[in-house]
């Protein structure tokens, strides 16, 4: 039993959120960076913000840290409106997207900076800094200035600096982007471990959807200053509310069409000339004839040489392209009407033994529960 399935305070109406955005709008001049956001984030959450560049992730963080004030609405932390609280009095620490390391201080002094402001005893500070240096594997570089270390090392110093104070709320603006894959994964687990131990609440911005999937208790997908969907990673992945979300996270085939008929949760969608209607299931009530999209992940489409028996949906085409990714391969299959559908299968055999090659005829099939029907 993983803790994520147990930990779901957002489903419990009795639990009180740590952070509450209440109708928050932020405008820069006449540009609206954050557009009327309502959002609750709970204690001990690992909350990930996902969205394209310029959608307002950093702005949201900066409002939490106290560097921007909402144009409209209020932000509550621990049941208190934090509007009038200055940044240095907030129980939050932020890791800046630009790192903002102090160039005149060495790595050790950068990490100790926040601890020194608390007036802790010297040896307690030194011990804490050593602990942080170990955590980010920078013991050897403690004496260097920021311009004497690499970009990834700088990122780790910035991370260590904001972790050092063990705040109640940690704001991480793309904390791991400059790290190599191995170190990134290690640090992700470190972060989850820290969170488990200290009970710190994390809000993290990331461009890496895999990272969001790995670490987050919930994911918020943003677009132009609005929250499009806030849900657990599996819901975001399996049940996106719109094609925007489906397309943003992971690989997906989006087939636009029209509702042919609906019977309870069963729905059929006409989508291409000469192709059978797609059979799918949905909870949406859709009027026949209205526009709809069918979104299906490539790994949920099976590829075979012969028409599979009893499949709810099956289409024939020819292999246009094969992307070999090591553990899996993605097949781009072109249908007679010109549409291209991506299907993925695990490479259980070595390459030489593969079943398909370019220009081969192939059948694609999926069940009626494999994809989602979207109305926008």
């Amino acid at each position: 039993m993983s803790p994520q399935t147990v930990f779901a305070p957002w489903e419990d109406p009795a639990s009180k959120p740590l952070i509450r955005f209440y109708g928050v709008t932020k405008r820069f001049g006449d540009f609206t960076a954050i557009d009327n956001i309502d959002l609750d984030i709970f204690e001990r959450e690992f909350f990930a913000l996902l969205g394209p560049s310029g959608c307002g992730k950093t702005t949201l963080m900066r409002m939490l840290a106290g560097f921007e004030t909402p144009t409209e609405g209020t932000i509550w932390l621990d049941g208190r409106d934090i509007g009038p609280v200055p940044p240095n009095k907030r129980a939050t620490n932020m890791m800046f997207q630009s790192y903002a390391l102090f160039p005149h201080l060495n790595v050790r002094d950068n990490i100790a900076f926040g601890l020194r402001r608390e007036g802790k005893p010297k040896d307690a500070i030194a011990a804490r800094v050593d602990e942080m240096l170990r955590l980010v594997q920078l013991q050897k570089f403690a004496g260097r200035k920021p311009h004497q270390i690499s970009g990834g090392q700088r990122q780790r110093v910035a991370l260590a600096r904001c972790l050092a104070k063990a705040p109640r709320l940690l704001l991480l603006d793309e904390p791991l982007g400059a790290l190599d894959r191995k170190l990134r994964e290690e640090t992700q687990f470190e972060l989850m471990d820290i969170q488990e131990k200290t009970g710190t609440t994390f809000v993290i911005v990331t461009h890496d959807q895999e990272e969001a999937m790995t670490v987050a208790s919930r994911v918020a997908v943003m677009d132009h200053g609005k929250l499009v969907q806030v849900a657990t990673p599996d819901v975001i992945y399996e049940a996106p509310v719109s094609t925007y979300v489906a397309d943003f996270i992971g690989d997906v085939n989006i087939l636009p069409g029209r509702i042919a008929a609906q019977d309870g949760t069963r729905v059929t969608i006409d989508w291409a000339e000469g192709q059978p209607a797609i059979a799918a299931r949905t909870r949406l009530a859709l009027a026949p004839g209205s526009a709809a999209y069918f979104a299906i992940r490539p790994e949920k489409i099976a590829i075979s040489a012969a028409r599979p028996e009893g499949a709810a949906n099956a289409v024939a085409g020819k292999v246009l392209d094969i992307a070999y990714l090591g553990n899996i391969s993605t097949y781009h299959v072109e249908l007679p009407g010109g549409q291209v559908i991506k299907a993925q299968s695990a490479n259980t055999d070595r390459i030489a033994a593969r079943e398909f090659t370019w220009e081969d005829a192939a059948w694609l099939s999926w069940t009626d529960a494999a994809g989602v029907v979207l109305d926008r």
């Binding site: 560097f67 240095n88 939050t92 620490n93 630009s98 102090f102 160039p103 900076f113 402001r117 608390e118």
Partner: protein
Amino acid sequence: MRRLAVIALPYLWLLALFLVPFVIVLKISLSDTAIAIPPYTPILDLSAGWDGLRDFVADLDFENFAFLATDDLYWKAYLSSLRIAFVATVLTLLVGYPVAYAMARAEESWRPLLLMLVILPFWTSFLIRVYSWMGILSQEGYLNQLLMGLGLIDQPLTILNTNAAVYIGIVYTYLPFMILPIYATLEKLDTSLLEAAEDLGCSRMSAFWLVTVPLSVPGILAGCFLVFIPVIGEFVIPSLLGGSETLMIGKVLWEEFFSNRDWPVASAVAVILLLILIVPIVLFQRNEQKQREAGG
């Protein structure tokens, strides 16, 4: 060949405008006074060939430098110049830093205008500006009139012809040299550093002392040297605004040259002044070098 010319050009420039005059001054400082034109001997006579040159060199000596050591006027003047330059530099820094800070924090569209205003005084003659301070600071000057008009004082203050007037004159004249380098470092200071400091628990004030000030040290040093170095040898301001108490080596130098017509002693004074200046100039160069390395 072109490269050689490019490299040689600045050296030729230095040779012509600095080294040659310096060698001439050094030569005069090793000569003796004479009632003649020019007022020293020996005179180098190249037409006499090798023998003339040997005689000439034999006549040079360090007598004038020995004389400087015996008369305490000179070393007192050097010390006093250093002290006045130091105090004036500190005062200029105290006035200049807040101005530079305010400029760097001003709306971006205002900054070119503010920079213009700082540089504007250079467009009128330095001499005229110092003279106008005489009009402001004198017994019947504008400042005394204003203060008496406001009823703050009933006797006019004696400011002109004191060290205070010299300090006012120096701070006024050299302020741009302090403001500009400090402004340059403050302007490129990344404001997210201040946010980070506040985020980590600093008040605005302590963020200023812990982040802004340390990061503007290169600008502060550059500004201080740009004021300190020329002020040591300053002559016009102490002569026009200073009084009998104001002892500065530039004034002594002037008097030796033009009142006493003792060129050899005056030259010796100048040579020593130059030697004293080498120390801060080297430090200044090193600061600039370090800043360049850190910058890129």
